[in-house]
Symmetry: C2
Subunit: 132 residues, 2 copies
């Protein structure tokens, strides 16, 4: 199977597939003409990677998860640990964004948004202006 076929079947773009080979996530064979030669197992792995990435797992997480996916003797505890850590990272990001959002909404609300130059947003960003 060529890269285009596996891209269509897995939903992962050819460029990304080549990149994943570069960093050692998948190891397709080569046909005699130099083309990468994929099989159904590669399609599964790539779809797996696509879904993991869509859930925000880093490439390194994906590497770990893919190894566990392939390991018949894995313990679900190992998988859960990776997912829980990732969940914590997500929660951290959400908190950070929520804090930004709170500050920004407040400033936006206070800003008249008219033709005059006075602006609480600019003022908040300029500590030195608070003394003027």
């Amino acid at each position: 199977m060529n890269i285009g076929d596996v891209a269509r079947q897995s939903g992962v773009p050819p460029k990304t597939i080549r990149y994943y080979e570069d960093i050692g996530l998948i190891r397709p064979k080569r046909a005699e003409n130099g083309y990468r030669d994929f099989n159904q197992s590669h399609v599964h792995k790539l779809a797996f990677l696509g879904r993991a990435r869509a859930l925000g797992f880093t490439i390194e997480d994906c590497r770990t998860l893919l190894a566990l996916y392939e390991d018949e003797n894995r313990e679900s505890l190992q998988v859960k640990a990776v997912a829980e850590e990732h969940l914590r990272q997500i929660e951290e990001k959400i908190e950070k964004l929520r804090s930004m959002k709170a500050t920004l909404s407040e400033l936006v609300d206070k800003c008249a948004g008219d033709h005059r130059p006075d602006c609480p947003i600019i003022a908040d960003l300029s500590p030195e202006l608070s003394y003027k």
Copy 2:
């Protein structure tokens, strides 16, 4: 004033200050020895940039905001527009993260997290396993 002083006063690291000069956000003069020569206005601008970046504005947003900050004839409408657009981006990111979080929490909850290999997280990431 040397870069170290302005870094301490503005809270922006020297490396970042040099980068901001590179991309044209600030334009310090040069002393005879080749050292960058900053004044108080640079400290203000850098502090402004630091706060804008902390609120998640992109560098391009910062460029715009800095221009408005310096423009005595700005209209607060212009500032507000930039902030509102950024607010929308933040809300989008939060939504995306919340969706990931929902999916992940559910999977984590369903995973036994013991020594057995069966794992709903792996199963969810592997569409082909649902037919087995």
